[in-house]
């Protein structure tokens, strides 16, 4: 009787998982990526493991931008049946931390591989306390399912500018869950009890317990068409950092739920050119009232600007002191601070192009030059005295405005090695160096 009872119980527990959930498990994949790194003065290949979920019958896989990037040289997807198949990057958007891969259709056909694809659920309908599951590859442990609840369905993150790498934008709030999320879970789905994808797991606090964060499915659904069509999302940029007005209404003589505070304005940005200043309060955006009382309300305002076509004119009704003024700014294309990277192997030097955003952040006069990412000890660049963080502005008598110029100079050097006079800046100090064969 005892054995029978146990058997029945097991069956009952198994039956509790819905058919939809089991289908979802068939759609979750492990992703192994080998990518190029330009960190220490050399081009190196490093490997990483992440997770993903197949979202279409023709093999589109949704994952994180930090799992698979354009630096990837090899992407392998492990299907639910443990078969490996290669994939390529279709689209990439580090601002939402999402990427889209496509499984090699020929290989699938040739090998007769089978997989399921997942359905999206309504992430806007999630409520705190709702049961969710995370599926993925934590620490390489393929096909791990963890269970938790939605801890918060509207988590706001401050823009983080301290990271050296690609920015994540503040165009959306995040889902927070206590379902265990560990390194390697990145890119895997957060699903409801019927197996519908409500989020893409992306972050966790390493030294905490059960504080994991996912990108809402609604954000993914908004981004996916652009990734399929154009490989990326074009956004408008005005250069405004918004802050919540909470508790400051009285100071600015405003009634509650009116306007949003301008916390900072990027130097040289469209908003700066339009005359917007930190400390201003934006009351209207293109004639519509703005309400930025709480931090959670800021992402939609950023998204409103970002979703405009590049070159749009935005009209801002601005309260400054006792005055209300109308300012208008023409948006630019949103660009990353991370420029193109390259390795000059014989010099033992890796560099990244100074981008407009990087120049603004670091108060450089313009976008001239390349930033030294690293030098290899004992190689000519290191011997000359160049170091990480230096900005190379001139080689010989050529000002470096494009990475291509440096590549051309390097090719000439390779053909005929001769000492090169290099001008570089380190925290605005100009020094001269010689790179010698």
């Amino acid at each position: 009787v005892g054995a029978l009872g146990l058997l029945l119980l097991t069956q009952a527990a198994g039956a509790a998982m819905s058919g939809g959930f089991n289908r979802l498990l068939e759609a979750v994949v492990r992703i192994d990526v080998r990518e190029v790194e330009f960190a220490d003065g050399a081009k190196r290949i490093s490997g990483g493991i992440g997770s993903g979920v197949i979202i279409s019958a023709d093999g589109l896989v949704l994952t994180n931008a930090h799992v698979a990037s354009p630096q990837a040289v090899e992407i392998q997807v492990t299907l639910a049946n443990l078969e490996c198949v290669s994939a390529r990057l279709v689209g990439w958007d580090h601002w939402t931390d999402l990427a889209l891969l496509r499984i090699d259709a020929d290989e699938v056909k040739r090998r007769g591989l089978k997989f399921a694809h997942a359905e999206f659920g309504d992430s806007d309908a999630l409520f705190p306390g709702e049961t969710v599951y995370a599926v993925g590859t934590p620490y390489g442990l393929t096909r791990t399912v963890t269970r938790g609840i939605i801890s918060n369905n509207n988590r706001y993150f401050e823009p983080d500018r301290s990271l050296n790498g690609y920015e994540t934008g503040t165009f959306n709030t995040w889902l927070q869950t206590d379902a265990a999320i560990n390194p390697g879970n990145s890119g895997g789905p957060l699903v409801d009890e019927s197996g519908r994808v409500v989020g893409i797991n992306a972050r966790g606090y390493i030294v905490s317990d059960n504080l994991g964060f996912a990108i809402p499915a609604s954000v993914a659904q908004r981004v996916i068409p652009g990734l399929v069509k154009a490989g990326g999302i074009v956004r408008s940029y005005a250069g405004i950092g918004f802050r919540e007005l909470q508790d400051l209404e009285r100071f600015y003589s405003l009634s509650a739920n009116t306007g949003v505070l301008v916390g900072n304005v990027d130097v040289g940005s469209p908003a700066a050119k339009a005359g917007l200043r930190a400390g201003d309060v934006v009351l209207t955006l293109n004639g519509r009232k703005v309400d930025g009382r709480f931090p959670e309300q800021l992402p939609p305002i950023q998204q409103t600007i970002a979703s405009l076509p590049v070159g749009s004119t935005i009209r801002l009704g601005v309260k400054r002191g006792d005055q209300v003024v109308e300012l208008s700014a023409v948006t630019e294309k949103l660009e990353s601070r991370v420029g193109e990277e390259w390795a000059f192997e014989k010099w033992g030097l890796t560099v990244r192009k100074v981008s407009r955003a990087y120049a603004r952040e670091n108060q450089l006069t313009d976008e001239t030059g390349v930033v030294v990412l690293g030098v290899q000890p004992g190689y000519p660049a290191a011997e000359a005295g160049l170091a990480r963080g230096d900005i190379i502005t001139k080689v010989g008598n050529k000002t470096i405005t494009e990475l291509a110029q440096l590549k051309a100079l390097y090719e000439a050097y390779e053909a005929r090695p001769e000492p090169q006079l290099v001008e570089a800046q380190r925290s605005r100090r100009i020094s001269l160096y010689v790179i010698k064969p």
Partner: protein
């Protein structure tokens, strides 16, 4: 016979040795009268930091010089309190006053109270060595123990390892020879120089968890670096005319960098030295003289810049050559601009106000010290030259009102409660009013930091 000869020889030698130098212990005890330990404290906003340094007496007026590193550059003279002078081995102290720092030598000058000068002997009383000490020559000096050991004097000696120009002539000895700031002598008791702040030495640290971690150790009590007499005696008269150390000559270029020897070779300037000019401040003397960014200065007043090791010493050399002058003096520079040689005459100006001279005020309730915005702050923040907009945050009390709001030292406050700050006085009025208003629950600051501007809301009470 053999024994006799040896005795004779010894007898013959003995009087000679006595004529050359007294026993070293006697010389040591005499020369102790030229050294003191000086105690003072630095009064900061919420705490005071006691400091003990060593100094050498230089004249009959009880003037004492201290190494430049004895006091950090940002500390205002007004914060230096309660100077006390201790003789070696004594528990009694005499009061002293701070006279200021000389810009050229970097020395700080302190003067002992008139009533307590008896028994002090200027170091110039002892004959100066006529020649620079040779390699391998033995020098000796004085070290002083800490206060809890009554600044007990002790003897140190070592041999000269190398002579360098840094840019002043300096000898480095095989081991420590004197307390930093105290004199060193040769075997004849002649003044060889004054020990400087010791250099860092590289060590590897081995512990249970770390295997050969490189660290740099600096001995703060003893030094093996001695600035030679020829670099000391001519400048003992540079006692500051005011506690600010003014007048100080101003050149007006920032970020001078040494020209690398490889670069010199490539530019066909073999065996020449130079400094690269990175940044010229608008309307500064260098700017008015027409000096340009990327110019390479090769000579000053007809003297080619010397090749010194390490390379960066040439920058100190150039700086000192400027500071040797007074405001209003003209220096002639030979400059390489692109491929052309250019002569530039710079009429030196007056150094803009330094941090240590800036007006500042601590607001206890708000929890920070505001200081006036200086010319040099304008350079750091790329503001237009001469701007007085805003105030600088000099100190933030940990856990205080503004600290909680996110204000940090070196933030540039542009607006207070929405009012743009045009002058320091205006800012002081606004902050004093907020500080005094016990009903104020909050106020708002507009703050720039590293090119980014932010609104900070400060909650009071």
């Amino acid at each position: 016979m053999k024994l006799l000869r040896r005795t004779l020889l010894a007898l013959f030698l003995l009087p000679l040795a006595a004529a050359a130098a007294a026993p070293v212990a006697d010389m040591f005890n005499e020369r102790l009268k030229s050294v003191v330990a000086i105690e003072f404290f630095i009064q900061a906003e919420t705490e005071r930091q006691p400091v003990t340094v060593l100094g050498t007496v230089i004249d009959e007026k009880g003037t004492v010089i201290l190494p430049g590193a004895a006091i950090l550059p940002g500390v205002a003279p007004g914060q230096l309190k309660d100077f006390k002078v201790y003789r070696p081995g004594s528990t009694e102290s005499a009061p002293a006053v701070y006279l200021g720092q000389d810009a050229f030598t970097g020395w700080h000058f302190v003067r002992v109270d008139e009533k307590s000068r008896a028994g002090l002997v200027p170091v110039t009383h002892w004959a100066a060595a006529k020649t620079d000490p040779a390699m391998g020559e033995e020098l000796w000096g004085i070290g002083l123990r800490n206060k809890d050991e009554d600044f007990q004097a002790y003897f140190m000696s070592s041999r000269v390892a190398v002579t360098m120009k840094l840019p002043q002539k300096t000898v480095i000895l095989g081991s420590d020879v004197a307390g930093p700031g105290l004199p060193a002598f040769n075997a004849a008791g002649e003044l060889a120089g004054i020990a400087q702040t010791s250099f860092g030495q590289n060590f590897l640290l081995f512990s249970r968890n770390q295997h050969g971690n490189p660290i740099v150790l600096v001995n703060v009590e003893e030094s093996s670096v001695v600035l030679l007499t020829s670099e000391v005696l001519p400048y003992l008269g540079r006692i500051p005319q005011s506690v600010t150390g003014r007048p100080i000559a101003w050149f007006g270029a920032y970020g001078l960098q040494p020209m690398d020897p490889e670069v010199a070779k490539l530019l066909k300037l073999e065996n020449q030295s130079g400094v690269v000019v990175s940044d010229i401040m608008k309307s500064s003397p260098a700017d008015q003289a027409g000096l340009q960014e990327r110019d390479i200065v090769l000579a000053i007043d007809g003297q080619p810049l010397p090749r010194l090791k390490p390379d960066r010493v040439v920058v100190s050399y150039f700086g000192q050559e400027i500071l040797r002058h007074l405001p209003g003096d003209v220096v002639a520079l030979s400059v390489l601009r692109g491929t052309a040689r250019v002569e530039v005459k710079v009429k030196l100006g007056d150094e803009p106000k330094l941090v240590r001279e800036a007006d500042r005020r601590y607001f206890e309730r708000l929890g920070f010290t505001a200081r006036e915005f200086l010319y040099n702050d304008g350079i750091m923040h790329r503001a237009s030259p001469g701007t007085t907009d805003g105030i600088m945050v000099h100190f933030v009390k940990p856990g205080g009102a503004v600290a909680t709001a996110g204000l940090r030292p070196d933030d540039w406050v542009r607006e207070i409660d929405g009012t743009p700050i045009k002058t320091y006085a205006q800012a002081m009025d606004l902050l004093a009013a907020i500080e005094a208003d016990k009903n104020r629950a909050e106020f708002v600051l507009l703050v720039s930091h590293g090119g980014e501007t932010q609104v900070l809301r400060v909650k009071l009470n």
